[in-house]
């Protein structure tokens, strides 16, 4: 179990080596909007623009109904 812990720490440090050298990035790592931020779609929805265009431009591989369901998170900016 100790060996596992050692491997996990070493592996995570190895994987995030560049991030460790950019301390400012740590501030956003755990507070950002996450990987799921269909900002284009939210903007289009709120501003009454074409959601179709925004969805096509976003390239999101998720069905649109689910992206709409996540809109409240996007509106919070930092969910």
């Amino acid at each position: 179990m100790a060996l596992f812990g050692l491997l996990a720490v070493a592996g995570s440090v190895a994987r995030e080596w560049p991030l460790l050298h950019r301390p400012a990035d740590w501030a956003t790592t755990f507070s950002g909007p996450g990987d799921f931020a269909p900002a284009e779609i939210i903007t289009a929805l709120v501003n009454g623009q074409s959601v179709a265009t925004a969805y096509a431009r976003s390239g999101q591989p998720y069905p649109l109904p689910y992206l709409i369901a996540f809109t409240p998170f996007g509106l919070l900016h930092d969910p």
Partner: protein, 278 residues
């Protein structure tokens, strides 16, 4: 969002993997896929996993409404969800009214959003197809796209569904065994978008369930530890100035599907299963 993701993962593990009392829980919690998922706060994937685990939990308990709601949520990532959808329909075949309840419950969750989506963008289904075909992939979906475009992806999807149904072939009309359910969810990794190691979270309930079998209790630790060892191979590149691990790092998700294969071929005896069975 990170806390939200951790909460969803804990719920998924409680529903299908015996929760924190399972000896396989900790190596799944401290694993490369979950680490990558939390760093990018991939809430969609976590929500999808929770939905699928809810559906798999509900079917043997004949909680049809919850099964329908779970599948509706899980379909946020259709390639991950479709093998389980097929197996749940097959194993619930003798309960047409239960299936009808599940369909109605799922429709109640999704129809308002689907209607809104069609109102905002009547062509969204077509755009979704285009988006899926042009997303960054690695692993088998990338090979499928290179060979046959979107139809290559469709073929890969059909193959995973047939594979899942083959594993469940003797379970028609029976309550779904949680080991099989967890492995069917893991199989979805093969056909899903592989754009980071986070894709492997769908195999973690299956990996953790190995911990419920005393003879395989160390397997989750070894599988998870080996994945971290694999991450160490990126050290030279990182030190040399690479900004991130290579894109093909994503294929590590397959390792977890492979590691959990004993769930697909053997059923534990009653005496073999530890008390926390989920």
């Amino acid at each position: 969002m990170t806390l939200f993701c951790i909460g969803l993962f804990m719920l998924s593990m409680a529903l299908l993997a015996g929760g924190w009392r399972n000896p396989g829980f900790l190596p799944a919690l401290i694993s490369v896929p979950l680490f990558a998922d939390l760093l990018t706060a991939h809430a969609t994937s976590q929500l999808g996993l929770t939905g699928l685990c809810l559906a798999a939990w509900a079917q043997p308990r004949r909680r049809w409404v919850l099964m329908g709601v779970g599948l509706a949520i899980g379909l946020i990532r259709p390639p991950n969800a479709l093998p389980l959808v097929a197996v749940l329909i097959y194993s619930s075949w003798s309960e047409p009214f239960g299936l009808l309840k599940a369909v109605l419950a799922g429709a109640a969750v999704m129809l308002p959003l689907v209607a809104l989506a069609f109102w905002l963008d009547p062509a969204w289904v077509g755009i979704y197809g285009v988006n899926v075909g042009h997303t960054d992939y690695a692993g088998l979906p990338l090979v499928a796209i290179r060979l046959g475009g979107t139809w290559g992806l469709v073929l890969l999807q059909i193959t995973t569904i047939l594979g899942a149904l083959f594993l469940a072939r003797s379970r028609r009309g029976q309550p779904l065994d949680p080991d099989l359910a967890a492995y069917v969810i893991a199989i979805g990794v093969i056909s899903s978008k592989l754009a980071g190691p986070y894709s492997g979270i769908f195999a973690l309930p299956a990996l953790a369930r190995l911990g419920l079998r005393p003879q395989l209790a160390w397997t989750p630790w070894m599988a998870s530890g080996a994945a971290w060892l694999f991450e160490l191979t990126f050290v030279p590149g990182m030190v040399a100035g690479a900004l991130a691990p290579p894109v093909w790092e994503s294929i590590i998700a397959y390792w977890f599907v492979f590691a959990a294969w004993p769930l697909a071929i053997s059923r534990p005896s009653a005496a073999e299963v530890a008390p926390a069975t989920g």
